[in-house]
C-alpha cells in the first residue's frame, strides 16, 4: 500500500578549501539553529558530507585531507510550510557563510511529497475494489 507521508527536501552546497568538512558541518548546524530560532523543528533530518565518507557513515575510512565536500542537508516533516522554510535557509550560506561555498546555481530545493510504502497483505473480505482514474496532480491536493 502506498500512502502520503508528509514532505521532504534535500539541498546541496559545495564547500571547498582547508577544513572543508568541518566548515560544512558548521554550516549545517547554522541552518538548523536558525530554523529552530524561527520555531521550526522536523520529524527527521540528515546531514551528509559527500566526499568525506558519508555515503556509508561509520564504514568508509575517514580522511582529514579532504579539500572539498558536497554538503547535503535533508528534512522530512508533515508540514509543507516547514519544509519550504528549510529550503530557503541554504542560500544565505552562500553570502553569509564561510568563504569557498559554491555549487548553488540550481536554485532552492523544492519540497516533494513523500509516497511511502507499507508492504502488507489484507484479507479479501476487508476490501471492496474501486477504480478511480484522475490526473496525478489531483491525487496530492
Amino acid at each position: 500500500m502506498a500512502y502520503h507521508d508528509g514532505y521532504t527536501a534535500s539541498g546541496t552546497l559545495v564547500l571547498s578549501g582547508r577544513n572543508a568538512e568541518r566548515n560544512a558541518r558548521q554550516a549545517a548546524e547554522t541552518i538548523f539553529a536558525r530554523l529552530q530560532q524561527a520555531g521550526y523543528c522536523y520529524t527527521r533530518t540528515n546531514v551528509e558530507c559527500v566526499g568525506a565518507g558519508d555515503s556509508l557513515p561509520g564504514i568508509w575510512p575517514r580522511s582529514s585531507d579532504v579539500w572539498e565536500v558536497l554538503l547535503r542537508v535533508s528534512v522530512h516533516d508533515s508540514s509543507r510550510e516547514a519544509v519550504e522554510r528549510f529550503a530557503s535557509e541554504l542560500a544565505p550560506l552562500v553570502t553569509a557563510g564561510p568563504p569557498g561555498v559554491t555549487g548553488y546555481a540550481n536554485a532552492r530545493p523544492r519540497p516533494r511529497p513523500v509516497l511511502a510504502y507499507w508492504p502488507t497483505t489484507i484479507s479479501r473480505e476487508s476490501v471492496s475494489p474501486v477504480t478511480i482514474v484522475k490526473p496525478a496532480r489531483e491525487w496530492l491536493t
Binding site: D5, N46, L56, P57, I59, W60, V114, L115, Y117
Partner: protein, 116 residues
Amino acid sequence: MTGTVRLGDLAHARSGDKGNHANVGVIAYTQAGFDYLRKMLTETRVAEYFLPLKPRAVERFELPGILALNFVLYDILAGGASRSLRIDSQGKTLGPAILEMLVPAPENIDVMRKPR
C-alpha cells in the same frame, strides 16, 4: 597463515534495495575462494561489519552454483528509497563497502584471486 587480505581480493560484490531492506551479493572468483567465504563470511561477521548502519538482522543465502553468497540486511536503509534521507537510499554502496572487509589471509590465497 599470515596477515589479512581484503575480501575484494577473492570476490566481487553488488548490492541494492528492496523496500527498507538491502541485499549484498558476494561472488567468489574461484571454487576455493567460495569454500573459504562460506566458512568465514558468516551472518554475524557481516552484521558486525555493517553495525554503524544498524541492520535489524542479517540472513545469508548460499548459491553454490554461481559461487555466491547473498546477504539480506533487514531495515538497513533508514526508510528505503521512498522515505530515506540518505544520499544512498538504495544501498548501492554496500557492495563496494563489503569488499573492504579485512579477513584472515588463507594459505592458498593465490588460487583464490581473480584468474587472469
